[in-house]
Symmetry: C2
Subunit: 292 residues, 2 copies
DNA sequence: TTATTTAATACCGATCTCGTATTAAATGTG
DNA sequence: CACATTTAATACGAGATCGGTATTAAATAA
């Protein structure tokens, strides 16, 4: 049972006329008659009752017709799928991201992307920067969203978000309610920090930021996520830094204070490996680039 | 996109090895490679990532695989359908029947038939004898179940049920409760009869039966169905005849009495036209014949 | 009876598929 | 590091298949 035989069968079944069906299929009538006969021989059943004057479907033909149509439609749909896949408009993209990207950048990127590419399945995994770099190498994720800088020469990256840090303080702290504060005035404070092993570069950035302001931060406790950091600040464990976009999480026990001064910028980069990047992942990358 | 290309594609996708896939499809490796390449060219997308050492599906290939399997399975199912249709084990059979056959004969025939041929769709239409004969000619039904005799030489028929008539009388009638009665003793009674136009032969049979017993029946009212006849007897409109199998319908207001004497046989015939009988209808006819 | 319509048949040429032989490249081994 | 082995791709030729043209046979209509 060949594809063209099914096409021819459907054409004859719909036209009920070999000549017109042949015309519709852009072949001449004799080979069409031949192919129908061949199909009938293979199935060992008469599909059409034909007199010299009239063609009609047999019971078997009528049963076969909808199935033939389904098969041809499925073939078309398979072709469409291939076409979408070629353009990266269908597929699966696995994205790793640091927890702090989930509030600001990720929705900003993915909401419009999903609207334009509804058939691209996005698989999200919250991971540390370190984990993301490993997963990118192992091809376990296609794209990482993390805090720069990254050193690996095999990975491509570009900056997608730049925002200021803000200070989180307990409601009971003298700074609570202050519009802004100089970083250098915080030398005596105790800090809720982030563990070095999860994001060495981010840790280094924060430390260097403090040192440029003239002090070494006294770390009272380390929090795995910024959400817990805010919580810990609320319990009086110290004060902390978070990127502005995370400050949309408010607790009754904490206040946010602007940091004045330069070089207190929290960056977010999109990272991927050029080699073996899937078409749909490339679409996400391109989309992110155009968003800038 | 040809059928064999889909088969080859699925084989390679499952084996992930051109040599083994070729063996499985009973062709040699070069033409298989060629067909896959051709398919990729038509779809304009790479389906496999192949090094000289390893074959794996691309994203597009992985998306195509389930669809290809579906298509191949549907083709197989279409072949199965054709095979069943050839043997008359699938299809639609339209059966016309007189109302009085619905209680006794029809379930007796159709219940075991449906068990053996579950994919044959049975379409039932309650019709008068006259209507059935017309519908058979017009090919509106495939088979009729009616009360003989029939005269048409183009129709084939055989007897499927022979049963005695019983007498229906009101509970208040002197005969109520009597075990049996001679037909000839009913000359003075009024009868609930059946209209001649619905089944001329049946009407004639009943009339002749009475005349052989020595009287002409006095008809008080005519009932379209035997069910209404029983009801009318219950209201005191007269007494009536029904085939034994219909006597399973009881009303508190009526009694049934056996008729003694010969030639009071109600017959039911199965009728069909040999010409243009569908395979599945032929299966029903054969099944009915074997049931005897 | 004749003209017309329509599917089937006969035959030929072009294309396609498949097989054999061979090549090229990657991996594993002595 | 050279060599054997594995595996997919390439080259080419034989046979099958498909489709085209010309024609035939049969059924209907005039």
């Amino acid at each position: 049972m060949e594809m063209h035989q099914l096409r021819y069968f459907v054409a004859v079944a719909e036209e009920l006329h070999f000549g017109r069906a042949a015309e519709r299929e852009n072949i001449s009538q004799p080979p069409l008659s031949f192919q129908i006969k061949k199909l009938e021989q293979e199935l060992n059943v008469q599909l059409f009752k034909r007199t010299k004057r009239k063609v009609e479907l047999t019971e078997a033909g009528a049963l076969l017709l909808p199935q033939a149509r389904t098969i041809l439609a499925d073939v078309q749909s398979a072709k469409d799928t291939a076409s979408l896949a070629r353009r990266g408009e269908i597929g699966r993209v696995r994205i790793g991201f640091v927890h702090s990207a989930s509030l600001g950048y990720l929705p900003q990127l993915l909401e419009p992307f999903r609207a334009e590419f509804p058939r691209v399945e996005i698989h999200l995994d919250e991971m540390t920067v370190t984990e993301q770099l490993v997963a990118l190498k192992k091809k376990q994720i296609d794209i990482g969203v993390l805090r720069p800088p990254i050193a690996d020469p095999e990975l491509t990256s570009f900056n997608v978000v730049e925002e200021n840090f803000v200070l989180v303080v307990p409601k009971t702290h003298p700074l609570a309610g202050t519009p802004s504060v100089e970083l250098s005035s915080l030398a005596h404070e105790h800090f809720v920090f982030y563990p070095e092993h999860r994001s060495p570069a981010f840790f280094a950035q924060l430390t260097k930021m403090c040192q440029l302001a003239g002090f070494s931060p006294k770390i009272s406790v380390q929090a795995n996520t910024m959400y817990t950091a805010i919580g810990l600040v609320g319990t009086g464990a110290g004060i902390g830094f978070i990127p502005e976009s995370v400050a949309c999480i408010t607790l009754p026990s904490v206040s946010f204070v602007k940091l004045s001064g330069t070089d207190n910028i929290a960056k977010l980069d999109l990272v991927y490996s050029e080699t073996g990047l899937s078409k749909s992942a490339a679409q996400v990358v391109e989309f992110a680039r155009n968003l800038l």
